[in-house]
């Protein structure tokens, strides 16, 4: 018997976190993601599973509460939107440096600065190229449905603990705010096993104490640590690329789009095909590691590729890097919280790739 529920994307992420067995959520209100904490506070997961929910005094405090909770081996989560995620970058860099697992949800809004509260995808660079200081990577998941907002809480924690690395769920105001049917999964237990090779649980008698830190003042050891991180990221690139293909079998043109833009592109494909333009879609699910190889394999068969993003053209750089020369690649996007219509997207495909 399936458990189905009509939910907002933000609520689905919150329910997903509870059911994925999260031990703690620490957040700070910001539009358009406040429903995450509102849902958790109303749901009282401390009574359902024992999960702790705390409203912090700032995003700085929230991410550092996550850092503390994660250092003990517990499943910790936070969520915010673009300006708040910018504030969290210091903590995210520390989490990556100290190799702590956690789940961070960014329900992106328009920027720069305080920007706007409407949906945007302009945090792509920040998410995939390292928003904080130092050589580190986040595993970045891009949900394009309310169902994925729910499911990626599970996947996110799995990957975070598999690689001992922060996982960022890069959503946007559209996916976060819209309502869709969600098939809920069964409740997973909270964390019960704590790996003493790295978690802080209190030093057991007769064993060494554990230290969680990103600091090592010895440059040669710090380099070794960095090499270890890079090795981990290479493993991640080899094993964790996720993407979805739609109508690519006979496609002559290809959309590359993630999140809400991928949903808009789905409709644009339908409209295009009604006019006889064979368009397909590659939807990256992991933005890091980026599905460079499948994209490179698809590209030579295409007359043109349009990267569709609600930004000035950020992911298109990865599309170009993946494909290289020889294929016509263009970017189309709206900015500042404006959402392109499917008609607009199709129009721009024609303008940028066909009539040119």
């Amino acid at each position: 018997m399936k458990e189905l529920k009509l939910m907002k994307g933000n609520e689905a992420a919150a329910e997903g976190a509870i059911r994925a067995g999260a031990d703690g959520y620490f957040g700070y209100p910001i539009t358009p993601q406040s429903e995450v904490m509102e849902y958790l506070m109303a749901e009282q997961p401390e009574k359902r599973t024992g999960m702790v929910v705390l409203q912090a005094e700032s995003e700085l405090a929230a991410i550092n509460m996550v850092y503390g909770a994660a250092s003990t081996g517990k499943k910790a989560m936070t969520s915010s939107s673009s300006p708040g995620i910018s504030l969290m970058q210091e903590g995210i860099s520390y989490l990556a440096g100290a190799e702590l697992p956690c789940l961070i949800l960014n329900v992106v809004r328009g920027g720069p600065g305080l920007g706007t509260i409407q949906p945007s995808q302009a945090d792509y660079f920040q998410s995939t190229k390292g928003g904080g200081h130092g050589d580190y990577r986040l595993i970045v998941l891009a949900p394009s449905s309310v169902q994925e907002m729910f499911d990626f809480a599970f996947l996110g924690f799995d990957l975070a603990f598999k690689y001992r690395n922060p996982v960022l769920m890069l959503s946007d105001g559209l996916i976060g705010q819209m309502m869709e049917k969600v098939e809920l999964r069964e409740q997973l237990p909270r964390t019960t096993y704590f790996d003493r090779s790295w978690t802080l649980t209190g030093k057991p008698d007769g064993q060494e104490r554990n230290i969680v830190t990103s600091l090592d003042l010895d440059a040669s050891r710090q380099e070794v640590h960095n090499q270890h991180l890079q090795e981990k990221y290479r493993k991640c690139q080899a094993n964790e690329v996720r993407y979805e293909l739609l109508n690519t079998e006979d496609a002559e043109y290809l959309f590359v789009a993630y999140g809400s833009s991928a949903r808009i592109c789905q409709k644009a494909i339908q409209l295009g095909r009604e006019e006889g333009i064979k368009i397909g879609l590659l939807r990256p699910i992991t933005l890091w590691p980026y599905p460079a190889k499948p994209l490179a394999e698809l590209a030579p068969g295409m007359k043109g590729i349009l990267s569709v993003e609600q930004s000035a053209g950020q992911m298109v750089e990865d599309v170009r890097l993946s494909v290289g020369c020889g294929v016509h690649i263009e970017h189309f996007g709206r900015m500042g919280g404006m959402i392109p219509t499917p008609e607009e997207v199709l129009e721009n495909l024609k303008k940028l790739l066909i009539t040119k």
Partner: protein, 260 residues
């Protein structure tokens, strides 16, 4: 009597606690950090809670506190130790959680985290080392630098008009209902060390009793930053720091001590 007859295991009255590691301390000669570390570890040893304790190290001179304290520890980013401790304590309410922070960490960059952790009454213990200066970065002005005090960023003395007033964070957090035990101590003399240790014990007992946040400020020296020899620095501290940062309990069992 021969000294060899005295130095026998059965006559041992004081030795460094095994909760301090054997690693030589990275602090300058005479620095109060070492003494504060040691009495903190002695309290944890005497309470028998080593296996239930998680400490949070700051950024500052004591950034490497985890090298010397033989308990599970995490290094926080600058000023965020109370938030990190909150995350730990909320997930492990039965563990003992403490932060160890200097004045720059606690009273400047981490002011918000300190005040809000105290205001929520997080059941943690905050050890606050106040030497009125940024030691690690080379003796810059701290929020607690005294009026007229010379530092590398107030080379003509702290000018209140342009640089603001020294901040009494401990008195400030004592006003918050979430704090249960707030005190100011020092570690420059045997008597003061013993009192400071007793205060840390009280703080951890408060945590055990789930009474709210406990904060122990230790007014300390910075020989390098103050450009004084260790013993002279302690004398300077008594003469100059204590009048502005008076020693003693500020809040006990959730009640402000008279005149506060």
């Amino acid at each position: 009597m021969d000294i060899k007859d005295i130095i026998k295991p059965e006559n041992l009255v004081y030795q460094k606690t095994p909760l301090m590691t054997d690693k030589p301390l990275s602090y300058c000669p005479g620095c109060g950090h070492g003494t504060a570390h040691r009495i903190l570890m002695e309290v944890i040893e005497e309470m028998g809670i080593q296996s239930e304790t998680i400490g949070v190290a700051p950024v500052g001179c004591s950034v490497l506190a985890y090298d010397f304290m033989n308990v599970d520890m995490v290094g926080a980013s600058h000023g965020r130790a109370p938030a990190v401790a909150t995350g730990i304590k909320r997930c492990w309410p039965e563990k003992f959680v403490y932060t160890y922070q200097g004045d720059g960490d606690l009273a400047a960059i981490g002011t918000a985290e300190t005040i809000h952790a105290c205001n929520r009454g997080e059941n943690i213990t905050i050890i606050f080392i106040n030497n009125g200066i940024y030691g690690m970065t080379g003796g810059q002005m701290a929020p607690t630098t005294l009026k007229g005090m010379k530092t590398s960023t107030s080379p003509y003395g702290r000018d209140i008009e342009t640089m603001g007033n020294p901040l009494k964070m401990t008195e400030l957090v004592a006003q918050l209902p979430g704090t249960c035990y707030v005190t100011r101590q020092s570690v420059h003399s045997p008597r003061n060390v013993r009192r400071a240790k007793k205060a840390i014990r009280t703080a951890f007992e408060s945590q055990k009793g789930k009474k709210g946040t406990s904060l122990v400020e230790i007014v300390s020296n910075c020989n390098s930053g103050w450009k004084l020899e260790p013993v002279a620095a302690n004398d300077w501290m008594v003469e100059n720091m204590f009048p502005f940062f008076p020693l003693g309990d500020i809040k006990v069992d959730g009640k402000l001590v008279n005149n506060q």
